[in-house]
Assembly symmetry: C2
Homo-oligomer: 276 residues x 2
């Protein structure tokens, strides 16, 4: 269950429309949908503010507002996570020497780490980048119906984990090829959406088809071009996809595609299966 989505970022109108859609399409009873909207002129903004070490947290009461009518227990399983952030305590052995680990905060650090009791190496865990394409074709966008969990049967943009050795744009094109069999040209970066709770950052590129030869890969049940007013907002696989598509629609309305940066803060969540 997604309790709260907080968007902190750049693109006022886009965030407004997301708010409207969230309250319209979700039928829950106490979740909050919070936004921080800023001007799109970066030279005049101070969106984020820092605080001293150990208290480096944004203050949501200052930066967001609850929406009347928003709700906490969605019946729809629209928003789910691909993968939860790694639990450091599950790292029980050193991957380099095989020694057992201990879980401590190293000197000079502040986070719990898995440290090898034999070779003293630390197994750091870092967020992963999910890269994907928002593919435009004659006023339509390409979506894939997932053939894998989580969110089996729900719609998504072609996207997946970035690999070592490829750029984000290359990774986004590879995922598009793997999931939709589509050959695309990347047009521009479109959005970076951080999801700190699950240790993921979505990097989405605008792209266009080089031809109409696309077909679902093994991880997709179906691939389809959707007219903008037919996008299945009630059946999207992930909150990041929902946010991305709404930002895109809002940009189109305003006649200008921009780059968006934001954070999706989920108070808690669960997988889609729980709501089916």
């Amino acid at each position: 269950m997604l309790k709260a989505v907080q968007i902190l970022g750049w693109s006022t109108a886009g965030l407004t429309i997301i708010s409207q859609r969230l309250t319209k399409t979700r039928n829950s009873t106490s979740s909050t949908v919070s936004f921080l909207s800023t001007s799109t002129n970066p030279r005049k903004l101070s969106t984020f503010s820092s605080s001293p070490r150990k208290t480096l947290r944004f203050n949501p009461t200052r930066m967001s507002s609850s929406l009347p009518g928003s709700d906490p227990v969605p019946k729809s399983p629209t928003f789910v996570s691909v993968q939860s952030a790694g639990d450091v305590r599950k790292i029980k052995f050193c991957q380099w020497c095989g020694g057992p680990t201990k879980h401590e905060i190293p000197d000079g650090e502040e986070k719990l780490r898995a440290i090898c009791t034999h070779c003293d190496k630390i197994a750091y865990q870092n967020p992963k980048m999910v890269v994907g394409c928002l593919i435009e074709h004659e006023g339509k966008v390409l979506l894939c119906k997932r053939n894998i969990q989580p969110s089996h049967g729900l719609w998504t943009l072609p996207a997946g984990y970035l690999e070592v050795g490829e750029s984000a744009a290359e990774g986004a094109m590879r995922e598009t090829w793997e999931e939709a069999g589509a050959t695309v040209e990347v047009v521009s970066p479109f959005a970076q959406l951080d999801i700190p709770l699950i240790g993921q950052t979505y990097v989405i590129f605008l792209a266009k088809l080089k031809n109409l030869d696309f077909a679902p890969g093994p991880e997709s049940l179906e691939c389809r071009l959707f007219a903008l007013d037919e996008i299945p907002f009630d059946s999207l696989a992930f909150s990041s996809i929902y946010v991305t598509l709404n930002l895109y629609l809002e940009d189109l309305k305003k006649g200008k595609i921009k780059f968006h940066y934001g954070t999706i803060n989920k108070s808690f969540f669960c997988f889609s299966q729980a709501w089916k």
Copy 2:
């Protein structure tokens, strides 16, 4: 040694100035500095092009040009990597069950993975995000002289690995606090620079000081505000910082700060110690 830096991305003029600076400041004999420049209007561009699986590589001969006078064996150790991309063969044990790993390409995949011979789990390796701040203050920028390897004694923007549980902007502010003792406000995203060879993506934010109370943390020897014409381009720690600062200077010249996305392709490299 940095043999080739290839920038693929958005911001024509910025890339031009980088080319000039690289040839001016480095004294090598055969390295190439290659750029792909594109208009800053994302709606009219097709910078990247994809190709079928197994050949998803950009064609550098099509997308770049060698610069006469550029050189291959730099005397200056300016450009070094923070950390090379993980070698999957070094993963010899499963971090979850302690079982020995085998190194194979799993069914349906194309990359060599470390697979546990006991529990069958795959230890995926993914690129890491390095987040940092480009801090402006009254026409100057804040740089830190590194007190750690690699690039000890060279100048950098405050930056470091993003942690699970924080957004990129939060991570950038944390690193700024840790390395420069500075409290900042993030103004806007400024650049994403992928470095596929070493599995890193730099995400740099424009930021401003909330006050003048800054001082080097344990990882810095010194922190200083540099006037734009005093930036020590010959003593910068990393190619990503060099590119970022040049993009910034070029934006200032044009009177408009933009978001930049690009890829830094290094043919090969080594650590700074080799050149001292």
